[in-house]
C-alpha cells in the first residue's frame, strides 16, 4: 500500500503537465474550426469551464488507470499459487471512494451552474447587433432586421460588439455553430432560439451546421467575418442596396446608413451586361427562389435560396463548399447536382454555355 500511494502521488503531480501535453498535441496543427482557441466571450467562458473539467478528468484518469495497472503487475499470480486472502469489502474504503468523487463533482458543478445562467437567453442592451438566423436545407440565411440586410452563408459582425442571434429554421432542425465564438444552438421550426457572443478579434472564421438535417448536412458550412466597425458599416451600406427588406418596405430606404443607391441604380440600368443578366435571371427562373438587385421580389419573407444581390463579394459559394471563383460558379450553374448531390437548387431549364457565361459575369459583377 505504502509503495503504491507514492507512485500515485507522483503521477498526480504529473497530471496537469500531461493534460497540457494532450491539448498541445491536439492543437499542434491549425484547425480553423477548433473549439480550443476561443475568439469570443461565450466560447471563452465555455473553454474555461472545459479546461477545469479536463484537469479533473486527467487527474482521475491517471490515478485510477495507474492503480489498475499497478494492481495488474503487482498481483499477477500463477495457477498453483495458494488462494489469496478472501476479502469481501471494506466499508471505510467504500465510503471514501463514494465521497471523494462527490466532492470533485461539486467542484465542477458550481462553476457549471453559474455558466449555464450566464450563457442562457438573449443579450439585451444598447449597441447590441440584432441578427436573425434562418436555417435552410442546406444553407444559412442571416438577416439584420434593424439594418435592412439579408445575406446568406456569410455573417458579418463588428468586432468588440455583442451580437444577438434570434434563430429559427425554414424546414428541418439545424444547429448553428461557430466553434471559436459560441457553443451550438439548435433551431426549430415555428419557434426562436437565442444565442449571443462578442468577437475579440477580426478575421474570417468557419462555422457549420451541427444537427443532422438530411442528404447534404455535411455541406452546410458558413463563414463568420469579424471586422472593424468601419468595415462593417461599409458592408452594411453596400448590402442595403437591393435588399429584400428595404425593397419590401420593412426597413426604410436610408435611415441608418446613407448610400448612393440612386446613383448606383442609374449606372446599373445603363449597363448592357446588367440588362442581359437581369433578363436571364428572370427568364431562366432564378427569380423564383433568389432575390437580386433590381429584380422584383416574389416575397420578402420567404426566400427559398440565398439573396444573391451581392454574391460577387462573398468568400465562398454553395454554403462554404468552394471558393468564390468564376470557374466554380460556372461549374455550379452548369449542374448543381453534380457539385452537391441532392441539393434543392434546381435549374428551371438547362442553360447553354453562353447563358451560363452571361449569368456568371452578371452575378460576379454584383459585389
Amino acid at each position: 500500500m505504502e509503495k503504491s500511494s507514492g507512485l500515485v502521488r507522483r503521477l498526480a503531480r504529473q497530471a496537469p503537465a500531461l493534460c497540457l501535453l494532450l491539448l498541445i498535441a491536439a492543437c499542434a496543427k491549425d484547425y480553423p474550426q477548433t473549439t480550443l482557441q476561443p475568439r469570443g466571450d461565450f466560447a471563452r467562458m465555455v473553454d474555461d469551464l472545459f479546461r477545469t473539467t479536463v484537469v479533473w478528468a486527467t487527474i482521475v484518469f491517471v490515478l485510477v488507470e495507474g492503480v489498475l495497472l499497478w494492481a495488474i503487475f503487482k498481483f499477477r499470480g500463477r495457477a498453483d499459487d495458494p488462494e489469496p486472502r478472501q476479502v469481501h469489502g471494506n466499508t471505510t474504503l467504500e465510503v471514501v471512494w463514494t465521497v471523494i468523487p462527490a466532492f470533485i463533482l461539486v467542484a465542477i458543478a458550481v462553476p457549471t451552474v453559474k455558466t449555464i445562467f450566464k450563457t442562457s437567453d438573449y443579450a439585451t442592451g444598447p449597441g447590441v447587433v440584432q441578427i436573425e438566423v434562418i436555417g435552410h436545407q442546406w444553407w444559412w440565411e442571416f438577416r439584420y432586421p434593424e439594418l435592412g440586410v439579408v445575406t446568406g452563408n456569410e455573417m458579418h459582425i463588428p468586432v468588440g460588439k455583442t451580437v444577438n442571434l434570434r434563430m429559427t429554421t425554414a424546414d428541418v432542425l439545424h444547429s448553428f455553430w461557430v466553434p471559436q465564438f459560441a457553443g451550438k444552438r439548435d433551431v426549430f421550426p415555428g419557434r426562436y432560439n437565442p444565442l449571443w457572443f462578442k468577437a475579440e478579434v477580426t478575421g474570417i472564421f468557419s462555422g457549420q451546421c451541427a444537427e443532422f438535417c438530411g442528404v447534404q448536412h455535411a455541406r452546410m458550412g458558413f463563414k463568420l467575418i469579424s471586422e472593424t466597425q468601419e468595415e462593417f458599416d461599409a458592408w452594411v451600406a453596400r448590402e442595403r442596396i437591393g435588399s429584400p427588406l428595404v425593397n419590401a418596405g420593412t426597413v426604410p430606404a436610408d435611415t441608418t446608413t446613407p448610400a448612393d443607391s440612386a446613383g448606383r441604380a442609374a449606372k446599373l440600368a445603363a449597363d448592357s451586361l446588367e440588362q442581359a443578366g437581369r433578363a436571364l435571371f428572370s427568364g431562366a427562373g432564378c427569380i423564383g427562389c433568389h432575390a437580386m438587385v433590381g429584380t422584383p421580389l416574389a416575397s420578402a419573407t420567404s426566400l427559398k435560396g440565398p439573396n444573391l444581390s451581392h454574391v460577387g463579394s462573398r468568400q465562398t459559394l454553395v454554403a462554404g463548399l468552394m471558393p468564390n471563383t468564376e470557374e466554380n460558379l460556372r461549374k455550379w450553374l452548369a449542374n448543381p447536382d453534380s457539385v452537391k448531390q441532392g441539393t434543392l437548387m434546381v435549374l428551371p431549364k438547362k442553360l447553354t454555355d453562353a447563358e451560363i457565361a452571361t449569368l456568371v459575369a452578371y452575378l460576379r459583377s454584383h459585389r
Binding site: 499470480g77 468557419s206 455535411a218
Partner: protein, 612 residues
C-alpha cells in the same frame, strides 16, 4: 419447500436434438441462447462492415467512395444494428443461456415465450435489413429526429422500415424482458436470496427493469411517428401545431435508459470474471448491487442531457446537468470495487480476464468524457461532434463489446464443451485493444477541433485528414481482430468436446454441471448458502471438485417443443410490416388483417397446446 427438483412425474418425451426443425421448435433456453448468439453475431459483423465502409469514405477530404445518401444510410443502420441487433441480442444470448444456469433453474419461466422473442427478433432484424435490397435503407439517423422524418423531408420507405422494424424488435425485447424478470424473481434455487444472486444475474435483472420501463415510451413515440407518416396526423409537425421537440423527449426518455440496457449486462459479466480470475470474491458485493440499481434509477432522470443544445432554459439545463453528474458516483463505486477485487488477489491473466480488465480500463475513459458532457455549456461545444462519437464508443465498444467478448471467452467452454485457444485469444485481445484505441481515441481531438458527426465528408482546409486516416487504419486492425476470433471459434469446433465442467475454478452454479449442460441443466440443485456456491463446495471438498457426470434425464419433465411461437412471430411481422403498404396499395389493411389472424390463431393454438 423441497430442495430437490426431481419430480415424480411420468417420463417425458425427449425429442431428438438434430435437424433444422428441432431448432425452429426448440424451447430450450440454451439452444435459444445459441440462436440469439449466432444471429446477433452475424448482425454485429454486418454493422461492423457498415462502419468500415464509413471509415474508408472518411479517410480523405471530399472523398467519393460512397454517395451522401448511402453514407447517411450506413451511419443510421450502423447505429440501429449495433444497438438493437448487435449488443442487445448478444446480451440476450447470455441472459438466455446463463440466467437459468446461474440461478439453478431448469429453464426460464416461459420457455415458449422465449422462443417467440427470438423469432420476433430474427424477423425484425431481417425486415429492417431487407430495406438495403430495395435501396430504401433507413437514412434519418438511429435517433430519427423529427421533423426530418416527416413525409415531406423523408419521402420513400426508408424511415418506414426503421419505424416498423424498431416496433417489431420492441415486441421481442418486451416479451424477453418480462420472461427474464419473472425468471429471476421466481425461479431461483432454494437458498438463493436476492443478495446471493451472482452479479451477472443482478445486472441482468436491472436491465430487464429498464427494458420494461423504457420500451413502452419508444413504442408510443414510434406510433406517433407512424401516424404522422401514414395517417396524416401532426404529432411532430409544426404545420399542424405539433412540436418536433416532443419526439426528442420521448426518444431520450427511452434512449438514455437504453444506454444502460446496453452496458449493465457487461458490468455483470465483468463482475463475474474479475473475482474468478483474481481468485477472490467480488469486493463490496452489496455496494455493487445498489450502485447498479442506483445507476438505473438515475438513468430515468437524465434524458434531457442529450438535448442541451436545444435551448431548454437554464433551470432544465441545471437540473439535468446535476442529475447526470450524480451518476458518476455509483459508476465510480463500480470501477473502484472492480479494482478492489483485483487488489491483493492472485490474478490469472487468461483471455477472459484480459478482456474484462480492458473493459474496466476503457470504460473509465468513457465515463470521464461523460462527466465532461454533463457540463451543459461545454456540451454545447461537444455535442454532435466526434468527441461524442469517441465518448459513446468508449462506453459501448470499450465497455459493452469488450465485456461481451470477455463473456464469450469465459463461457464458451460451458456452452460448447470446447476451450477456445488462449494464445489466439490473447492475440485477439491485443489487436482489438490497439485497434479500438487507435480508432476511437483520436476522435476526441477531431471533435474538439470542430469535426461534426454524421458528415459524409469534410473539406480539406479544416485539417481533419491526418487523424481520420489514423482512425481508418485502426478500424481495419479492429476488423481483422474479429477474424482472429472467428478463426479461434472455428478451430475449437474441430476439436473434440472435452472441456472440463469448470475450467476456471468458477464461483457460480453453472460450473457444477457438465459442459455443455444437459437439457434439464441440474438433476439436483445444490443448496445455496452464499453468492459463491461453487467455491463453497470446492472448499468443503478440500480445494477440488469432482468432475460432474452426465446423468439420465429419466423422470425429469421438460417443456415440449412447439412451433406456435414461430408462427405467432410471423403474425407480429405481417401485422406491423403491413403498414409499409399504406401508400402503395389502398387495400393494405387486408395484409394487416391477415397478420392479425395469424397472430390470434397462433396465440390460441399456443395457449391450448400442452406445455409439457
Amino acid at each position: 419447500m423441497a430442495t430437490s427438483v426431481v419430480d415424480h412425474a411420468p417420463a417425458s418425451h425427449h425429442e431428438p436434438h438434430t435437424g433444422i426443425w428441432s431448432w425452429i421448435t426448440t424451447v430450450d433456453h440454451k439452444r435459444i441462447g445459441i440462436l440469439y448468439g449466432v444471429t446477433a453475431f452475424i448482425f454485429f459483423l454486418l454493422g461492423g462492415i457498415e462502419a468500415l465502409i464509413m471509415r474508408i469514405q472518411l479517410m480523405k477530404p471530399d472523398n467519393t467512395f460512397v454517395s451522401p445518401e448511402l453514407f447517411n444510410s450506413l451511419f443510421t443502420m450502423h447505429g440501429t444494428t449495433m444497438i438493437f441487433l448487435g449488443v442487445m441480442p448478444l446480451s440476450a444470448m447470455f441472459f438466455n443461456y446463463f440466467i437459468p444456469l446461474q440461478i439453478g433453474a431448469r429453464d426460464v419461466a416461459f420457455p415458449r415465450l422465449n422462443a417467440f422473442s427470438y423469432w420476433v427478433f430474427l424477423l425484425g432484424g431481417l425486415f429492417i435489413n431487407f430495406s438495403f435490397l430495395i435501396n430504401a435503407a433507413p437514412n434519418a439517423g438511429w435517433f430519427g429526429y423529427a421533423n426530418l422524418t416527416s413525409n415531406q423531408y423523408s419521402p420513400g420507405l426508408n424511415t418506414d422500415f426503421w419505424v416498423l422494424g424498431l416496433q417489431i424488435l420492441g415486441v421481442a425485447s418486451m416479451a424477453a424482458a418480462i420472461n427474464f424478470f419473472v425468471t429471476i424473481v421466481n425461479m431461483r434455487a432454494p437458498g438463493m436470496k436476492m443478495l446471493r444472486m451472482p452479479m451477472f444475474v443482478w445486472m441482468s435483472f436491472i436491465t430487464q427493469i429498464l427494458l420494461l420501463l423504457a420500451f413502452p415510451v419508444i413504442t408510443i413515440a414510434l406510433v406517433f411517428l407512424m401516424m404522422d407518416r401514414h395517417f396524416a396526423t401532426h404529432f411532430f409537425l409544426p404545420e399542424g401545431g405539433g412540436d418536433p421537440i416532443l419526439w426528442q423527449h420521448l426518444f431520450w426518455i427511452f434512449g438514455h435508459p437504453e444506454v444502460y440496457i446496453l452496458i449493465l449486462p457487461s458490468f455483470g459479466i465483468v463482475s463475474e470474471i474479475l473475482p474468478v480470475f483474481s481468485r477472490k470474491p467480488l469486493f463490496g458485493y452489496t455496494a455493487m448491487v445498489f450502485s447498479g440499481a442506483f445507476i438505473a434509477f438515475l438513468g430515468f432522470g437524465v434524458w434531457s442531457h442529450h438535448m442541451f443544445s436545444t435551448g431548454m432554459g437554464p433551470f432544465a439545463d441545471a437540473f439535468f446537468s446535476l442529475s447526470t453528474m450524480l451518476i458518476a458516483v455509483p459508476t465510480g463505486v463500480k470501477i473502484f470495487n472492480w479494482i478492489g477485487t483485483m487488489w491483493g488477489g492472485s490474478l490469472q491473466l487468461k483471455t477472459p480476464m484480459l478482456f474484462a480488465i480492458g473493459m474496466v480500463a476503457q470504460f473509465i475513459v468513457g465515463g470521464l468524457s461523460g462527466v465532461m458532457h454533463s457540463v451543459p455549456p461545454a456540451d454545447l461545444q461537444q455535442t454532435d461532434t466526434y468527441f461524442i462519437v469517441a465518448h459513446f464508443h468508449y462506453v459501448l465498444f470499450g465497455g459493452a463489446i469488450f465485456g461481451l467478448t470477455a463473456g464469450a471467452y469465459y463461457w464458451f467452454p460451458k456452452m460448447f464443451g470446447r476451450m477456445l485457444d488462449d494464445k489466439m485469444g490473447k492475440l485477439h485481445f491485443w489487436m482489438m485493444f490497439l485497434g479500438f484505441n487507435i480508432t476511437f481515441f483520436p476522435m476526441h481531438f477531431l471533435g474538439l477541433n470542430g469535426m461534426p458527426r454524421r458528415v459524409y465528408t469534410y473539406p480539406g482546409d479544416l485539417n481533419f485528414e491526418f487523424w481520420n486516416q489514423v482512425q481508418t487504419w485502426g478500424s481495419l486492425l479492429l476488423g481483422v481482430s474479429f477474424l482472429v476470433f472467428i478463426y479461434n471459434m472455428w478451430k475449437a469446433s474441430r476439436r473434440p468436446a472435452d472441456a472440463p465442467a469448470d475450467p476456471w475454478r468458477g464461483a457460480t452454479l453453472e460450473w457444477l454441471i457438465p459442459s455443455p449442460p444437459q437439457e434439464f441443466n441440474f438433476a439436483d440443485v445444490p443448496p445455496v448458502h452464499s453468492a459463491t456456491p461453487a467455491w463453497d463446495l470446492r472448499r468443503a471438498g478440500g480445494g477440488t471438485l469432482p468432475e460432474p457426470q452426465r446423468v439420465s434425464g429419466a423422470g425429469i419433465h421438460m417443456p415440449r417443443p412447439s412451433y406456435w411461437p414461430a408462427v405467432t412471430a410471423v403474425g407480429v411481422l405481417v401485422t406491423i410490416g403491413s403498414i409499409l403498404f399504406t401508400h402503395a396499395f389502398s387495400q393494405w389493411y387486408f395484409i394487416t388483417l391477415t397478420g392479425a389472424a395469424i397472430l390470434i390463431y397462433g396465440i390460441y393454438r399456443w395457449a391450448y397446446e400442452p406445455a409439457f
